[in-house]
Symmetry: C2
């Protein structure tokens, strides 16, 4: 499994992904699930992936190849597409096509492959936008009412987001919220695992403002996790029923 | 959907279930999902149900009918079965049979029906036992290492249980823990809904020690829910990253 979460806030976007992939329970590996594309000052795009690794890797490779093609056009490169909506459509159609190809290969074994993605970005002169792309290529977008999107193992980490994330949440609080959301998920589901990739895209920066890989032994993350456990236990102890 | 949780503690067992059932999103009803069987001083059994209502109702009706049959035997009545392990087997085999019957009826429409149950109980001279019965009739049992079992929409409410529930948790704290676990689930998933049914079975009481129906407007539950939200927000605010 996987857990990725993206927040669309007044001050910017905060993204967090884990890195665990597994084929069954006994074949566990570490793969990056967050990918960034930048044309600094013009455009920034970040994509997070969940689902079958063969689908997500091929999709990302095709998108990357199109960006790097010297003859790329606004129709083929997500760094040249006229709008972020168009970028979401391009990621969606690439994902849907790869998924259909892989699905066909697997159908002989009565198996299927699926994947979903979160696309975050901003182009010069445009708004920040955050999309969740479904396996079929259709998508939804984060709004003021629902300023976060999740893919993968999303349930364990949702209560904390439901309670603290608003469009006006500061970027510092947003980082804390996604890390605590991940912490709850890591504790409850072994198929989500460290290290983590964190990215912050500030509003109108048109580049990735901050990235951080948080390794398994990260002292700061461990301290935060313990402080949160303590805060929960203390809060629990104080409640009367 | 449904959310039911059972805790097996040194001092007793604490059970909580919601009451929402739905056929699709637009046909929502309220049905009790917690059922108790008592032979006070001799035996107490509580069963919580999740899944297709047609399966769970028929299963419970057959179990109840067998208990009330004046010619019931240790082979047919869960109030006469020699051990709680045998009770779990009887509930499992009844559930599996009903499920298979309903599944066969539905197969013509390419649909299926499934259900799972939690069985908690103690007989005179025996230990308290807590089982999770799978749709196929097999089951697992709560232990010191894993003192709680959940059925239905279990993920949202698991982090709080993971953090605070131990076999030595007091019954008062246990009630608080299951109510807060339910509170997180209610907030994040509309298909789990009030009212709630709470039951406590104290060790060696051999009867249901306490039952409480918590209605949608319950002032005490609302106050607890708000206190918990406040504790989470305060705890969140105090954490530094």
């Amino acid at each position: 499994m996987t857990y990725c979460v993206g927040l669309l806030l007044r001050d910017g976007m905060v993204l967090l992904s884990d890195t665990r992939t597994n084929a069954g329970l006994d074949n566990i590996s570490t793969y990056r699930k967050m990918f960034t594309f930048e044309d600094p000052g013009e455009r920034v795009i970040a994509i997070m992936t969940a689902g079958s690794l063969s689908v997500t890797q091929t999709t990302m490779a095709r998108l990357r190849e199109a960006v790097e093609d010297p003859e790329s056009t606004p129709e083929t490169s997500i760094l040249k597409a006229p709008t972020l909506l168009k970028v979401a459509e391009m990621v969606g159609s690439t994902l849907a096509q790869v998924r259909a190809d892989v699905d066909e290969k697997l159908s002989a074994m009565n198996q299927g492959a699926s994947a979903s993605m979160i696309v975050a970005g901003q182009r010069k002169g445009g708004a920040m936008r955050l999309f969740l792309i479904y396996p079929e290529g259709n998508f939804i977008e984060a709004t003021e009412d629902t300023p976060f999107l999740q893919i993968g193992e999303h349930k364990y980490g949702k209560p904390i987001l439901d309670r603290v994330v608003k469009p006006t949440t500061s970027l510092a609080d947003a980082k804390k919220a996604v890390l605590l959301s991940m912490d709850s998920t890591l504790r409850s589901n072994l198929s989500v695992g460290m290290p983590l990739d964190l990215a912050v895209i500030e509003r109108d920066a048109l580049r990735v403002s901050q990235t951080r890989r948080i390794e398994a032994g990260d002292e700061q993350f461990r301290a935060m996790s313990e402080a949160w456990s303590k805060a929960l236990r203390d809060g629990f102890a104080q409640i009367n029923i």
